[in-house]
């Protein structure tokens, strides 16, 4: 038996395969397809202080080996999460990490504080990288001063594992990873989606109502991999890699580049059971290459 355990801050994951925020609902949407308790963790849909309707439709476009979305943080708010979703989560033997978003520093802090007292939630992922809202989201994650401010405020209010989700829509992503580390984050996850656009040439119209959105899927993987590599070189805290992961080989690549754990995102839409197939593939790779602990893969790129 290979050892699959990894640690992110104070959380011990039974394996490094987790599912990405916005791509896996609250996990409950997937229970017909797989045993979600076998996952290392589930990163929930973004949660804000107040309920949000999200953006107008159309919200998505299919692009070569990927998709652009502009959902805009549609969710029923943190109080709804606590009252109606959280009670269902204890039936599953995995970690639920709540993705926290907001328009203002105060809103981020409010949501984080309310999640802090939930016994079954061991950590949050601070979403300072959503490209699909006018205020908050990526506005924080692309400006070093704002990023520092919101991470610092949330760090003061939140006492468990704090993961900061980084935006790739910056010149140097490692600068933001370093800010997160300096402000006491336990981990960084990257990348969120890449700001993108799609046009219908025949109709001469944008394919997405808000014109731009976030690109995800295998199309972004090489960029994500490069960014994980850069960040892992720069920080001491564990890096969670994501961006287009669709196979066990993709996960191995992210781990070799320096990721401690990974998130499977858009691939869940095409094959809702893919995360566990990926897990099986990792075990197979480890056996073939003689790794006894998955931790040995992190940063094991031979140069």
């Amino acid at each position: 038996m290979v050892d699959l355990e990894v640690k992110i801050g104070g959380i011990t994951l039974k394996n490094p395969v987790t599912t990405a925020s916005g791509c896996f609902g609250y996990g409950l949407e997937y229970t017909d397809f797989l045993d979600i308790s076998r996952l290392g963790a589930i990163f929930t849909k973004a949660t804000t202080g107040e309920p949000r309707e999200g953006n107008p439709s159309p919200r998505m476009a299919e692009t070569p080996m990927g998709m652009i979305n502009s959902v805009g943080l549609q969710n029923k708010g943190v109080d709804h999460f606590i009252e109606h979703i959280y009670p269902h989560l204890s039936a599953y033997d995995t970690h639920f990490i709540v993705n926290v978003s907001g328009s203002t520093v105060e809103e981020y802090v409010e949501v984080a504080s309310k999640i802090d007292v939930l016994e079954k939630i061991p950590g949050i992922e601070l979403n300072i990288s959503c490209p699909n809202v006018k205020e908050g989201g990526m506005v924080f994650g692309t400006d070093p001063v704002s990023a520092r401010k919101v991470i610092r405020a949330v760090r003061e209010a939140y006492h468990k594992t704090l993961i900061v989700k980084l935006s790739p829509n910056v010149t140097s992503i490692k600068d933001f990873a370093l800010i997160a580390q300096e402000e006491g984050a336990d981990s960084v996850s990257l990348i969120n989606t890449l700001l993108a656009m799609a046009i219908d040439a025949e109709r001469r119209k944008p394919l997405i109502a808000r014109i731009t959105g976030g690109l995800s899927g295998p199309a972004v993987k090489p960029i994500a991999l490069r960014m994980v590599w850069e960040v892992a070189q720069a920080v001491e805290i564990p890096v969670i890699g994501l961006g287009g992961i669709s196979s066990a080989t993709d996960v191995i690549e992210f781990m070799l580049a320096g990721a401690t754990a990974v998130q499977v995102g858009t691939a869940n839409f095409i094959d809702p059971a893919i995360s566990l197939k990926i897990l099986e593939g990792i075990i197979d790779y480890m056996e073939r290459h003689g790794f006894s602990s998955v931790k040995e893969l992190t940063g094991a790129l031979e140069i």
């Binding site: 916005g22 896996f24 949407e29 017909d32 919200r59 998505m60 299919e62 080996m65 094959d271 809702p272």
Partner: protein, 258 residues
């Protein structure tokens, strides 16, 4: 409101038939190795299209017909883009990966006389609905619109279930004009069901609202996942933004803000 709480499955189904009805429309028949789940009119499947980077996501397709005894389902598909083109080229014996059954079906509304209005590929779920209503002993009338006679295909299986009226925009078959102007719309109906191009459905919904007749419409929207996770297919309703793949694709038109 009928709520189907069946388990969704991912399965490779075998192609047992793939037949062109005309230049644009084809019927794909697929067989499951297992007993079919309860599949209701208006529900859909997310079909995986193998073969090109442009067909990255699954294609949501309504059920056209279901045969539990032979474990077969049929899908009526219009060749529109790369994905449907690939599906049209599938041969007998090939496997197709599907997630099904998905979405909220049409509900059995009160009454005995129902009008089913369709356009284009929107005919698909209306056939299965027609079968359900026919089985329930209801009187049904179909009203279908096409651009021209060249788009038509054999509609005899619909005629086995009820009367059928046709309109074509150029008058090459049936009444000239749009379904929305057909006199049968003016008769007293207990409810109207519709599936087709959105502008058509909007007019049908408006007529129904004016006459105080309940109306359900099945929406065709872009979808990411098809099972409620991505929130990409959201439509504006009186209850806020709702997922066409879970709260729909069938909506009571009173709920829609379109």
């Amino acid at each position: 409101m009928n709520q189907i709480i069946g388990k969704k499955r991912i399965e490779d189904l075998e192609v047992t038939g793939n037949k062109w009805l005309n230049e644009d429309y084809f019927v794909l028949t697929l067989r499951s190795e297992e007993i079919l789940p309860d599949i209701r009119a208006g529900q859909f499947t997310q079909v995986k299209v193998e073969g090109s980077p442009e067909t990255f996501l699954r294609r949501p397709i309504s059920f056209y017909d279901v045969h539990p005894s032979s474990r077969e389902i049929r899908l009526l598909i219009r060749k529109a883009g790369a994905g449907t083109k690939r599906l049209s080229a599938l041969n007998k014996g090939e496997k197709v990966n599907m997630i099904y059954p998905l979405g909220r079906p049409f509900s059995l509304l009160e009454g005995n006389r129902f009008l089913l209005v369709g356009g284009g590929v929107g005919l698909a779920p209306l056939y299965l609905l027609g079968k359900e209503l026919h089985r329930a002993g209801k009187e049904i009338v179909f009203l279908f619109g096409f651009r021209s006679a060249g788009q038509l295909f054999d509609l005899s299986q619909f005629k086995d279930l009820g009367e059928l009226y046709l309109t074509t925009e150029d008058g090459s078959k049936g009444e000239k004009g749009l379904v929305t102007g057909h006199p049968v719309m003016e008769q007293g109906w207990d409810a109207i069901y519709t599936c087709g191009p959105e502008p058509m459905m909007k007019v049908i919904a408006a007529v129904a609202a004016e006459k105080g007749v309940p109306c359900e419409a099945s929406l065709e929207t872009l979808m990411g996942c098809g099972f409620g996770a991505c929130l990409c297919c959201a439509v504006e309703t009186v209850h806020g933004m709702q997922r066409a793949c879970v709260e729909g694709p069938v909506f009571n038109t009173k709920e829609l803000l379109w």
